[in-house]
């Protein structure tokens, strides 16, 4: 591969990894509090549509982003209510949310297909963008990429260095003990699921306002599911999850570029690499978990019913 293409490849890796990363960070937070939300794909789609509509109507993509996050929150409320308050099966509730979100966005989005709207343009970060190589790779993106940059350390600090973060982890590991210590399991779980929903909406908005600037049905094309895999790959750690998301983006960008320069590797092999990578990542993560290196939140997927 031509050497000059490497910085462009890494730039593409960041671009392609960002929607997955945004969604994965939100899911990570919810799962850390013990709630598995398989509705991310649906929330992402509703976020993408809402962001697009609001940006198209208002002419201001940032308002669109805000609306997308709100839409994610609203949809995640359904999952939170079902799984936290009604102790419903989290897998069932999440899947229902994905199916609902896919249908809803398709229905409401009908009249917005084929309509152009204002989206984000790349913004160079002062000083940093001028750093040779690295500047081009990491600091000449659209603003939502930078939001993702900030969210990664932000979430890490929250989880590992603050009291609220400690509470979240306690609720995800031992909700009964946390409850006994006076931590409200319900409040913590609701907050995390809702915050996670906003991140999923953000990830959707990235697709409809930054990556491509249009709305078409089902435009997430399975990225929500990849995000779920990246949370596991990252061992519920924001930094490692970010690494996974960018790696996934990188593998996808690489296979497209190998095709573009006409490398004679079997194309089917190239096309399956991102997914092969995901499977491999999950195997590695599971293997190291078996050795006790990474911990799934102990209470993940289990409803908490006081006194039971």
């Amino acid at each position: 591969m031509e050497l000059s293409l490497v910085p462009l490849l890494l730039e593409a890796a960041v671009r392609a990894g960002t929607p997955i990363l945004l969604v994965a960070l939100g899911e990570l937070l919810a799962e850390r509090a013990g709630i598995l939300n398989l509705g991310v794909e649906g929330m992402m789609l509703v976020g993408a549509l809402t962001g697009f509509i609001v940006s198209q109507q208002s002419g201001e993509p940032w308002i669109g982003v805000l609306a997308a996050a709100m839409a994610g929150v609203m949809l995640s409320c359904v999952h939170a209510f079902l799984s936290i308050s009604l102790h419903a099966n989290q897998v069932g509730s999440g899947l229902a949310l994905t199916i609902f979100g896919t249908g809803l966005s398709g229905l409401l989005g009908k009249s917005f297909v084929g309509v152009p709207a204002k989206g984000f343009a790349p913004i160079a970060v002062p000083w940093l963008a001028d750093v040779p190589l690295l500047g081009r790779m990491f600091f000449q993106h659209d603003p939502l990429v930078y939001v993702a940059y900030l969210l990664v350390p932000g979430l890490w600090v929250l989880l590992y260095r603050t009291r609220p973060g400690l509470k979240v982890r306690a609720v995800g590991e031992q909700p009964r003990s946390a409850d006994a210590l006076g931590i409200s399991v319900v409040v913590v779980r609701y907050s995390c699921v809702l915050a996670g929903g906003s991140a999923a909406g953000l990830g959707g908005a990235y697709l409809s306002l930054a990556y491509t600037q249009m709305w078409v049905d089902n435009m997430t094309a399975g990225r929500g599911w990849i995000a779920l895999a990246m949370v596991i790959f990252g061992g519920w750690n924001p930094v490692r999850t970010a690494l996974g998301a960018y790696l996934f983006g990188g593998v996808q960008a690489l296979q497209l570029r190998l095709q573009a320069i006409g490398v004679t590797v079997p194309t089917y092999l190239l096309m399956m690499t991102p997914y092969a990578f995901t499977i491999l990542a999950l195997i590695i993560a599971s293997a190291s978990r078996a050795r006790g290196h990474v911990g799934t939140p102990t209470a993940l997927g289990r409803a908490y019913i006081r006194g039971e």
Binding site: A16, P19, R257
Partner: protein, 356 residues
């Protein structure tokens, strides 16, 4: 049980309302689509055709069912349409072929129309448009506009139809400039705007200055515009997504075919045939040219189009060599449709491979 009851009630209601509201001789035409009508691509184009049918022919009532997976679901939907009084049923994906054949046997009084397939019976015909002809014309434009002699092509799924249309584009490019290379990237999906956009990015990264696409969304054209390159769209007019740099799009226009077929059914003259309509019928064509396309180029395209219509020329007339330089179609040879329908090799000037 409750579900069946609901279905029965709805069927009853619609038939009662239909009888009360519509004209008695209204002909019901049903469509099934493999994707959402909101894809702004393949299914969208067929749905535009359905709307055209409804507005041009009086007393025609249409129904559509979108995003129907091929297989058992399609059989259920097709049967349902036939049972509920639809006299013409249109299926718009190759994968519906065997299912439709099976349902057509059970409903001999209903006319079935299948897009892009090759199996027929007395009450089931096939139809398609020679999109490769329109694609060739877009190639003329792209080949003229490229300065770096490097064009990027975003291709969806490697089947003969896609390869044929890609080759036609490349032959158009070669006709005006044989030194240009066309780099082909497969997304392996009919429909994934973000990946299509990234595929366009990968082609722009290696220095392509024109991006053409055959995938379902206008994302590659939009990405090209954002990075200052020209774009050629497919399926539907992509100009709204690239007001400055859009050159043209190869587009479907199914309406006239649907109107003609339904007219024949109504007149009782319809016969099961294999319709592969050429560009002269208007079933395929070009969207309006973008602002950067000059008149001389427009004239060239128009002239070639007239040649195609008059039969003075066709896209795959020999000599045509493949990527390895091997002569595939000899000079003076006019390949039969069978060969075009099974095409699984790229013509010369393509950089990229046909997955095997």
């Amino acid at each position: 049980m409750a579900k069946w009851l609901a279905v029965m009630v709805i069927t009853l209601l619609t038939s009662v309302l239909g009888a009360a509201g519509g004209t008695p001789e209204a002909l019901k035409v049903g469509f099934i689509y493999v994707g959402p009508v909101g894809d702004y691509g393949w299914s969208y184009a067929h749905d535009q055709g359905r709307k055209y049918l409804e507005t041009t022919l009086p007393d025609v009532q249409t129904t559509y069912v979108e995003s129907v997976p091929e297989g058992a679901d399609a059989e259920r939907v097709l049967t349902q349409l036939a049972r509920s009084g639809h006299k013409v049923i249109v299926a718009t994906s190759y994968g519906y072929m065997d299912t439709m054949l099976k349902v057509a046997e059970r409903f001999p009084d209903v006319v079935f129309l299948h897009c892009s397939g090759h199996k027929r019976r007395a009450n089931m015909g096939t139809y398609f448009g020679r999109m490769y002809q329109a694609s060739y014309l877009t190639g003329l434009v792209a080949g003229t506009m490229t300065q770096k002699k490097r064009i990027g092509y975003v291709a969806p799924i490697p089947i003969p139809e896609v390869i044929r249309i890609t080759n036609a584009f490349v032959l158009g490019v070669r006709a005006v400039n044989p030194e240009v290379n066309v780099h082909v990237v497969w997304t392996n999906a009919w429909y994934d705007p973000a990946t299509e956009s990234e595929a366009a990015n990968s082609l722009l990264d290696i220095g392509a200055d024109v991006i053409a696409t055959q995938s379902d969304s206008p994302a590659p054209v939009q990405t090209a515009e954002r990075r200052g390159a020209y774009g050629v769209g497919f399926n539907a007019d992509a100009s709204k997504f690239a007001p400055e740099k859009h050159l043209t799009s190869a587009i479907w226009n199914w309406g006239p075919y649907y109107a003609a077929a339904v007219k024949q059914v109504r007149a009782g003259t319809w016969k099961s045939t294999d319709e592969w309509w050429p560009i002269g019928t208007g079933i395929v064509g070009l969207s309006p040219f973008g602002p950067v396309v000059v008149d001389t180029l427009k004239n060239l395209v128009e002239q070639r189009k007239q040649d195609l219509i008059a039969g003075r020329f066709d896209v795959f007339w020999g000599p045509i060599k493949d990527q390895s330089g091997k002569l595939r179609i000899a000079a003076g040879e006019k390949p039969a449709d069978e060969m075009l329908l099974g095409m699984n090799w790229f013509v010369e000037s393509v950089v990229g491979t046909v997955p095997k």
